[in-house]
Subunit: 281 residues, 4 copies
């Protein structure tokens, strides 16, 4: 059965939970999951409430909720689980994250749907085509970057994309692109940030002699590698692991962590609060 | 500031969250944490709400809540964080869990207070004494088990114990003891249950050639090693690890997992539902 | 540069390391990795030595090593890294392990080559075909099992298969098949064995209320779920995870653990000793 | 039975393994463990060989090995397991690492022996005394640092200390102290280095919103937090974890990781190669 998810943030004050819960009782909405969190450092209350859509008219419900939200200073958004988010994947030479994501949609593991893949290399056109997804090859050079990004934005806009995934895209997006999709671009960085930000993190990790390596999925912001972290994971390594081994072990982390972050976002489980995420998993 | 924690379970139906939240608004109770869960397999709603005690008379609040709870079929209990739970530790020859727990209370890491240690060996009397906790040496033989347990129950009763911790106690408690403290005896089993239930789990793990070993903290019930699991953790092992190494690695798991379970219980974060736990962490 | 790998097992006695190392010095073989292990419980010495093939004639080297091996009671095998092992994948309805393995070979992550896929369902024919691998649909019913397995053995034999991977194949192989590929069939079981052996392990895990779930890659033997374990991994779960969530989390474990075990086997890093594995990673 | 451990490093060239193994055969030494590693980036071969002391005169053996070592350009050291290393622990206000280490020696978990505890606070004198270890209270102020460190060096020297453990000592040692114990001072840093080097790492981690926190045991060098890493571990955290919770979760990591590093060092399993460690575990 489809559900609706209400994401709320508001200045913390008594009565918020009661206001929302009382409203949903009145609307005869059957809550299936509810979670909330108060961040005392910024005095913010955030909540995620998921309820069955059975017999509920969400337009009517939204109209009825608006004055309650206003009176409590709430920002809110209502998502229907049957409104499938439209996703674009940006890729480059490395296939593992791209192919893993496509395989997950192919196997019914992820909500939403991949609407297009944009790559600055032509290598993965066949596998993308196999999954029935349009593939756009947009090569990029320092000279052509503006032009390439303009073409990219046209495609994203034309396909009414809700979420952009950087599946080891390896290019830094200019602020124009980032600003067009605030909180809607997810990147996978191949280290446990903030360690080894920047380029060649596996080389950095090898040089430092760490005993764990990691991967970090985060929202892209203007500050490179500084965006809100959605998920991270790590694996043990030893002196036996060359850079080549770290890269190989890292691939498994990257694809699993990226897919988890994508799922969390698409299931409307992530809110951004003060440069960090609240993940209602 | 001290807080109060309300633990609720009830047959799931619409309006439960609203009823509790509305009541607490009326009582001018400032909620600091709230979490809830519905177990669809048994149709049960469980909730944990923690609120500041500032200006709240909990006796009055309890009286006011009782009719609301009754009308919704709720079972509930109210704990004050300033009412320190009284803990007994049962130990045997191995010191690591016992010493670790005492060190945590010594360092202010755990709520509640250790009121007595009962051991069937005299070895740890000095370290227990160092922490100012009474130590009772109750040796046990097959012949003296009934008598030993009767003495133990007298001590637990005399000290008005709220929680009994089996810190590698190595003896099977008879139903008389288990039934006297339902949901209030925590054991640490040195395997990731249900693997290697019963005796000598590290030997079993070595014989089977597993690549991870674990530890499990669970409530003690009449069925040995079958009680509700509170927490588990594992660590990687390899062919290089002899049984001796497994025992050594396992000790670190045992003490950390047991201490986590004890903290979760004492912070009133655990509810038992249908032979399993809900842990609001 | 290609390498050769010598895998040795012998009754433990002094001088084995010196004998092998001395021999390789004489042969002017440049050792790039060496590892050894003694299992005291069975008195067995096992060793893995990898050396550059630069200027080495492995036929000549094998001839020269044979008398040394005989004099020390060694069983041994010599693998060249440029002799690509031939792999068959057995699959059923669930695609995630199959697709993940194909993607890894497609991305150059794994040694060897997938020579054929045999499935009792036709669903994955297109994706297998995309990777240029022959796909054979061999449906199976209780009545047709003997016939299906005979056809399977014909295919495996005809393709001179070195390794058979059960990628969530969901069928129990009869002893005839198992005995034809001793130590050369790898299965992924969707639990941390020996917990939850048998069917529906995620349902079992959910019923028991465990706080970690796992996956186990093992060699297939006549005793179901009892074969030597190659690798295992786990992930944390909570009361929030329904069986559906456990299945989803488990998929990520299954594919990563299975791929690790396949890589370890194909890189000649695994020896079977007394029902367990020695993994020289 | 006691053993001896030979730690060797040498410029990599063919024949090193054969030379050592051949020598030990001649000496009739029964190897119980051997491991080696080549770091191709610096062209260095390192090896750890452990053999039974049964009937072996180590002085004689060392004399016999010296010319072989010289001819291969080896640096080497021979440790007897029955020569118990002498350990000093430096502590400050936080007790958890200190008390954990003392409990491990008390329970027979660690080789070597704690010979003295030096603390800049008097708080832990009683528990240190309980374990029969001399406690020296050396307060420190910016003005008295030189004097305090001189007194400390006198104590370390007077007790012929082999290993110094900084058990959350919280003071930066001056180069004079560091240089006096090269590769023989182990610190625990409360983050997964190189993330959150410097002060208040849990606050930094909370501000950044990471989803894993860690701890790092490393040798102390002149460059703060830059010394060779011996071991690291991490645990998952979420938006629910305040700084206070991170500190609490981190304590369990700190004490386990520090104890592992201490054990590895005392069992002579760690070599320092080019600013990194080789850990033969």
């Amino acid at each position: 059965m489809p559900t609706a998810t209400l994401l709320i943030s508001a200045p913390d004050r008594p009565g918020l939970v009661a206001a929302v819960a009382g409203f949903l009782v009145e609307q005869r909405a059957n809550i299936v999951h509810a979670d909330q969190h108060v961040d005392p450092s910024v005095g913010l209350f955030v909540q995620r409430v998921e309820f069955d859509l059975d017999g509920i008219d969400t337009d009517h419900l939204a109209d009825a909720f608006a004055p309650i939200a206003t009176s409590h200073g709430m920002e809110w958004v209502l998502h229907r689980s049957d409104a499938s988010p439209r996703v674009a994947i940006l890729a480059s030479k490395q296939p593992h994250c791209l192919v893993d994501l496509l395989g997950r949609w192919g196997g019914g593991e992820l909500p939403g749907s991949p609407e297009l893949v944009i790559s600055n290399h032509p290598d993965h056109e066949a596998i993308v085509g196999h999954y029935g997804v349009p593939h756009h090859h947009l090569p990029i050079t320092p000279a052509s970057k503006d032009e390439q990004e303009a073409a990219m934005l046209d495609l994203l806009d034309g396909h009414r994309i809700d979420l952009v995934i950087l599946a080891r895209y390896m290019q830094i997006l200019s602020p124009t692109v980032v600003d067009a999709y605030p909180g809607r671009i997810i990147n996978i960085h191949h280290s446990f940030l903030p360690a080894f930000a920047g380029g060649r993190p596996y080389h950095q990790a090898h040089d430092r002699g760490v005993k764990v390596i990691g991967a970090t999925a985060h929202y892209v912001t203007a500050d490179l590698d500084e965006g809100p972290i959605i998920d991270q994971d790590v694996t043990r390594v030893s002196h036996r692991d060359s850079v080549h081994h770290l890269v190989a072990k890292g691939r498994d982390l990257e694809k699993v962590v990226l897919a988890r972050a994508v799922r969390l976002h698409l299931e409307r489980r992530v809110l951004i609060v003060g440069g960090k995420t609240v993940v209602f998993d």
